[in-house]
C-alpha cells in the first residue's frame, strides 16, 4: 500500500495555506483588541472599586460593551483555527500532534473555561455578585484571554523552533520528551511577550481614537479624557515593551531562522559588519533574482546595525540567502551545510528510516538495527529537507518578508512617537511637558492655547482625525508582524522538520478552495456587521 495517496494536486497546498492565513489574519483582527481592551476596562473597573464613583462604573461598562462585540468574533474565528490543524493539516497533526496537541488541550482547560465563565459574570453579574468578585471576574476574563495567548503562542513558537522532542521510528512521528522545554522555550517567552504587549497597543490606540471622536463631537468629555489618560500610559509602556521584545525576537530569529532574517532584510549575500537596510527597492510582486544580484536596488544601510542586532557584535557575521543556500564557513571555522547537502542528508534519513522499518519487520539483528538507528539519528536534523526537490524551495517569498518587516517597524516607531506626544499632551510631567508642548506649539503642530496645560479637549479637529486614522495603521502594523513570522518560516510548517507539502490533508483543491471562499464571505460579512455595531455603540455612547 506504500504508493497510494500520491495524487494530491499542488493546489491543495496553496489553498490550505491561503485558508489558514485567511482565518489567522481575521482572528488577529479581534484578539489584540480583546487583550488590549481587557486591560483598559480592568483599570477602569478597579478605579470604580476603589472610589465607588458611578462615573467609573459607566466607563468600565462602556468599554466592556465594545469588548463583548469584538470578543464574539474572536471566539468564532478561533475555533476554526484549532480545527483547521486537523481538517487541512492532517499529516502535520499526526507527525507532531504528540507535542503540538498538548498546548491546545491545556489552553482549553486553563484558559477557555476561565474566559467563558468569568465573561458571563462580568456581563450578567453586576447585581448578583459582590463588587470585589465582579472586579476579579473582569480581570480574570482578561487573564483567561492572556493565558490562551500563552499556550497558542507556545504552540506557534514550537513550530518556529522545535525543542523538547525526539523522533520515534516505531510510531513514525516526533514525540515530546521535555514538556518544560516546550512550554518555556525562549522563543515562546519572547513571542508571548512581544505579541501580548503589542496587543495592548491596539487596545490603547482604539480607546484613544474613540475618545478623540467624542472630544471632536464635544460630548462624553470626562469619559474621553480619563480613557485617553489610561490608554496613553498603557500604550506608551506597550510600545516601549514591544520595541524591546521585538529586538529580542529579532535576535532569536537570527539564531534559529537565519533564512527568515535574510528574507526580512533582502540580504542576498551576507558577511561581517552588516548594515541594517533602511531603504531599498524590492519589487513587491516578484521574487528578486537573489542568485545573481549583489543586493536590492537603492539600498541604504544603517552601518553595522544588522550585525549588532543579530550577534551583539558590530563585526558579527550574518549569512545572506546565497550563503545559506550554498553553505558557508563562520569566522570561527564552523561550517554550515549547503541546502543541497541538507537535502542529501534528509533523503538519507528518510531512506534509512524505510530500511530500518523493513529490517525490523524482517527480524534483522540488533546490531543492524542499531547501526541504522545511529545513521537515522545523525541525519534526523535534516529530515524535512528530504522532501525537497530543489534547493530554491528553501527560500521564502522575499518581498512579503521585506516589506512586512519594514511596515511593522516603521508603524511601530510612529506609534511610539504618537504615545510619547500623547503623554506630554495629556499629563503634566514636570518640565518635560511644558517644554515639549511649547516646542510643538512653536512648530504649529498644536495651538498656542494648548501649550500651557494638559487640556486636550479643545484641539483642532484634524488632531483628532489623525488619531482616528491611526487605528487601521495600528492593525496593519500588528498583522505585518504575523506576516513576517509566518511567511518567513516558509516553506516549513515546522522549521527544518516538515515542509508545508508534507503537512497537508489528502483533499482535492476544489474542496479547500470552496471552504476558503465560504470563510472569506462569512468572515467579511461578520466583520462588516461588527464594525457597524461598534460604530453604533460608540455613537450611542456610555449612557445607552
Amino acid at each position: 500500500m506504500q504508493n497510494i495517496l500520491l495524487n494530491i494536486d499542488a493546489g491543495t497546498i496553496d489553498w490550505s495555506r491561503a485558508q489558514f492565513a485567511l482565518t489567522a489574519i481575521y482572528h488577529w483582527l479581534f484578539v489584540p483588541l480583546t487583550l488590549g481592551l481587557a486591560v483598559i476596562m480592568g483599570i477602569a473597573e478597579t478605579c470604580y472599586f476603589r472610589t465607588k464613583d458611578m462615573f467609573w462604573k459607566n466607563v468600565a461598562q462602556f468599554w466592556q460593551k465594545l469588548f463583548g462585540v469584538n470578543f464574539a468574533m474572536g471566539v468564532a474565528t478561533g475555533i476554526i483555527l484549532e480545527f483547521e490543524f486537523g481538517t487541512n493539516w492532517s499529516n502535520y497533526s499526526w507527525f507532531v500532534g504528540d507535542i503540538f496537541g498538548a498546548p491546545l488541550a491545556i489552553e482549553g482547560i486553563l484558559a477557555f473555561f476561565m474566559e467563558s465563565t468569568f465573561v458571563a459574570v462580568m456581563y450578567f453579574g453586576w447585581k448578583k455578585v459582590s463588587p470585589g468578585f465582579h472586579l476579579a471576574s473582569t480581570w480574570l476574563t482578561g487573564l483567561g484571554a492572556t493565558i490562551s495567548a500563552w499556550w497558542i503562542l507556545v504552540a506557534n513558537a514550537w513550530m518556529q523552533y522545535p525543542v523538547g522532542c525526539q523522533f520515534n521510528p516505531e510510531t513514525m512521528r516526533h514525540e515530546m520528551v521535555d514538556f518544560f522545554a516546550v512550554a518555556f522555550s525562549p522563543f515562546a517567552v519572547g513571542k508571548f511577550c512581544h505579541t501580548v504587549i503589542s496587543s495592548w497597543i491596539i487596545g490603547a490606540v482604539f480607546v484613544v481614537a474613540v475618545s478623540c471622536w467624542y472630544l471632536m463631537k464635544k460630548r462624553e468629555q470626562k469619559l474621553a479624557v480619563v480613557s485617553i489618560k489610561i490608554a496613553t500610559i498603557v500604550g506608551l509602556i506597550a510600545t516601549l515593551g514591544a520595541a524591546f521584545t521585538g529586538h529580542i525576537s529579532g535576535q532569536q530569529v537570527a539564531k534559529v531562522q537565519p533564512m527568515k532574517l535574510a528574507a526580512m532584510e533582502a540580504l542576498y549575500n551576507g558577511g561581517t559588519d552588516q548594515g541594517l537596510t533602511a531603504v531599498a527597492w524590492v519589487n513587491p510582486f516578484s521574487q528578486p533574482d537573489y542568485q545573481n544580484d549583489e543586493s536590492p536596488a537603492f539600498k541604504v544601510d544603517m552601518p553595522y546595525a544588522l550585525s549588532i542586532m543579530a550577534t551583539n557584535d558590530p563585526h558579527g557575521f550574518v549569512p545572506g540567502i546565497n550563503d545559506l543556500l550554498n553553505g558557508y564557513t563562520l569566522p570561527d571555522g564552523t561550517h554550515e551545510l549547503s541546502v543541497d547537502e541538507k537535502i542529501e542528508r534528509g533523503k538519507l534519513a528518510i531512506q534509512t528510516l524505510a530500511d530500518y522499518r523493513k529490517a525490523k519487520a524482517e527480524g534483522a539483528s540488533e546490531e543492524t538495527l542499531n547501526a541504522q538507528l545511529s545513521t537515522l539519528n545523525e541525519n534526523m536534523p535534516y529530515f524535512g529537507y528530504g522532501y525537497m526537490r530543489d534547493k530554491l524551495q528553501a527560500v521564502p517569498y522575499i518581498p512579503v518578508n521585506f516589506w512586512a518587516f519594514r511596515i511593522m517597524v516603521g508603524l511601530g516607531c510612529l506609534l511610539l512617537l504618537y504615545f510619547l506626544v500623547l503623554t506630554i499632551m495629556a499629563y503634566d510631567i514636570p518640565y518635560i511637558s511644558i517644554i515639549a508642548r511649547r516646542l510643538l506649539a512653536s512648530l504649529g503642530i498644536i495651538p498656542e492655547t494648548a501649550a500651557d496645560n494638559s487640556d486636550i479637549t479643545n484641539l483642532p479637529a484634524w488632531h483628532y482625525w489623525l488619531v482616528i486614522i491611526l487605528v487601521p495603521l495600528a492593525y496593519i502594523c500588528s498583522e505585518s508582524g504575523w506576516l513576517v513570522a509566518e511567511f518567513g518560516r516558509q516553506p516549513w510548517t515546522i522549521q527544518d522538520m516538515l515542509p508545508t507539502w508534507a503537512s497537508v490533508s489528502d483533499l482535492h483543491s476544489s474542496s479547500v478552495m470552496l471552504t476558503f471562499f465560504i470563510f472569506l464571505i462569512l468572515f467579511t460579512t461578520m466583520l462588516a456587521v461588527e464594525i457597524g455595531i461598534l460604530l453604533k455603540q460608540i455613537k450611542k455612547g456610555p449612557k445607552s
Partner: protein
C-alpha cells in the same frame, strides 16, 4: 501508572468531555425551539437570553473536547478531521454562526437584522446536534478511510500523506448510513428535550413553562423511539474488536453487548442514566409545578453518553473503525500520544476539578435568581 492505564484514562477524560458536551447541547436544543417556546418576540428573547448565558460553556467544551482528543489521540484528529472534511466543516460553520449571533442579533447597527441571527441560532440548534450525533455514530458504524504510515518515507510523493479518505465525499457519505442518521436525530431530539427542560427551569415565566410542558412530549417521543432503536441496533450488531496480543482488528458478533456485560458497571451507569432522563422528562410532563427536570435529565444524559462512548473504545474495541480497510481502524493503543505526553497531560488534568468548581460556583451565583422579563429590560441582555 502503565501506558495502557494512561490510554484508558485519557479515553475516559475525552469521553467525559463528550458526555458533558451532549448535555450542554441543551443550548442548541432550546434555540431550535425558541420560537415555539416563546409565544411573543419578548418571550423568544427571554429564551435566547437564557441560553445566551450558557452558550460559551457548550462552545468551550467543544473546543476542549477537540483539544483533548488532539493531545491524547492525534491519529484520530488527523484521520477524522482531515478525512471527514465536509462533515466537520459543516459542524464548524454552524457553530461559528452561533458564536456571533447572540451578541449581534439585537444590537443597533446590525446590518443583517435580528431575524438573520435568530435564523443562524435555529440552524445551529438543529444541525449542530444532528451532525455531532452523526459523528459519534461513526464510532460504532465505521468510516471510510485508510491509513498507511509508510507513505511518510516515500520521497517521490507530491505529498506523503498517511491518512486517506477512501471516497470523494469526505465524510458526507456517513449521512447515507441510516443508523448514523438515527443516532444523529436522537441526539437532536435529546438536545431539544434538554433545552426545553433547561428553559423551564431557568426562566421565570408562566406561559413559557406551560408551553414547554406541551412541547416536551412532542420531542420526547421521537427521542425515545430513535434512542431505543439505536440502542437495540448497537447491542445486536457486530462490533470492531482488537486482538490484544497482535493488535489485529476483527469483527465480533454482539461486541458492544459483550462490552456492556464485561464492563457491567457501565451497564448499571447506563441504565441509571436512562431512568434519570425518563424521570426528568416524565415528572416535568405530569407535574405542573415541577421545573427541575433538567437536573435528573442532564445528569442522566452524562451517565448514558459516558459509558456509551467508553464502550466504543475500552475492552479491546476499535473506537474509530475503518470500513475500507479493517486494519486501518483506530484503537486506543495505535492512535494515542506517547507515554510521556499522556503522563504529562495526566498531571494537567488534576486542574479539571478546580476548573469545574469555579464554573459551578459562578453558574450558581448567576442562576440564583431566575431570569425574567424585568431583568432583560434593566440589565445587560442579548
Amino acid at each position: 501508572m502503565t501506558y495502557e492505564f494512561l490510554q484508558h484514562y485519557w479515553c475516559f477524560i475525552v469521553s467525559l468531555l463528550g458526555a458533558i458536551l451532549v448535555f450542554l447541547l441543551f443550548v442548541q436544543g432550546a434555540n431550535s425551539v425558541a420560537r415555539s417556546l416563546g409565544y411573543t418576540d419578548e418571550a423568544t428573547r427571554l429564551v435566547y437570553n437564557s441560553t445566551g448565558r450558557k452558550w460559551e460553556f457548550t462552545f468551550t467544551t467543544l473546543v476542549t473536547f477537540g483539544g483533548a482528543f488532539f493531545a491524547s489521540f492525534p491519529l484520530f484528529y488527523s484521520t477524522s478531521f482531515g478525512g471527514a472534511y465536509w462533515l466537520w466543516m459543516l459542524i464548524l460553520f454552524t457553530f461559528v454562526l452561533q458564536a456571533v449571533s447572540y451578541e449581534f442579533q439585537n444590537k443597533l447597527g446590525n446590518l443583517l437584522g435580528p431575524k438573520t441571527f435568530q435564523f443562524f441560532l435555529t440552524l445551529n440548534g438543529i444541525f449542530g446536534p444532528l451532525l455531532l450525533g452523526g459523528a459519534v455514530a461513526t464510532f460504532f458504524e465505521g468510516s471510510n478511510f485508510i491509513i498507511e504510515k509508510n507513505n511518510l518515507i516515500n520521497t517521490e510523493a507530491i505529498t506523503p500523506v498517511i491518512s486517506h479518505w477512501a471516497n470523494g465525499s469526505h465524510g458526507l457519505d456517513a449521512l447515507l448510513n441510516p443508523w448514523v442518521l438515527i443516532l444523529g436525530f436522537a441526539v437532536m431530539f435529546l438536545a431539544r428535550v434538554l433545552g426545553i427542560l433547561y428553559v423551564m427551569n431557568n426562566v421565570n415565566d408562566k406561559d413559557i413553562r406551560s408551553r414547554g410542558s406541551k412541547l416536551l412530549l412532542g420531542n420526547a417521543i421521537p427521542f425515545v423511539v430513535l434512542f431505543v432503536a439505536y440502542a437495540v441496533h448497537l447491542l445486536l450488531k457486530d462490533g470492531y474488536a482488537v486482538a490484544p496480543d497482535t493488535g489485529l482488528i476483527f469483527m465480533e458478533p454482539y461486541k458492544y453487548l459483550h462490552n456492556f456485560l464485561d464492563m457491567w458497571y457501565f451497564l448499571i451507569l447506563f441504565l441509571i442514566g436512562v431512568v434519570l432522563v425518563l424521570f426528568g422528562i416524565g415528572k416535568t410532563i405530569f407535574s405542573k409545578d415541577y421545573f427541575n427536570g433538567i437536573w435528573p435529565a442532564g445528569i442522566g444524559t452524562v451517565l448514558v453518553v459516558l459509558p456509551l462512548l467508553l464502550c466504543s473504545a475500552w475492552n479491546n474495541t476499535s473506537y474509530y473503525p475503518s470500513t475500507a480497510d479493517l486494519q486501518s481502524s483506530l484503537t486506543l493503543a495505535n492512535s494515542c500520544s506517547s507515554e510521556f505526553t499522556l503522563r504529562t497531560m495526566f498531571y494537567v488534568s488534576f486542574l479539571v476539578p478546580f476548573v469545574l468548581a469555579y464554573i459551578i460556583y459562578c453558574w450558581h451565583k448567576i442562576d440564583a435568581k431566575k431570569l425574567d422579563k424585568e431583568e432583560i429590560l434593566t440589565d445587560h441582555a442579548y
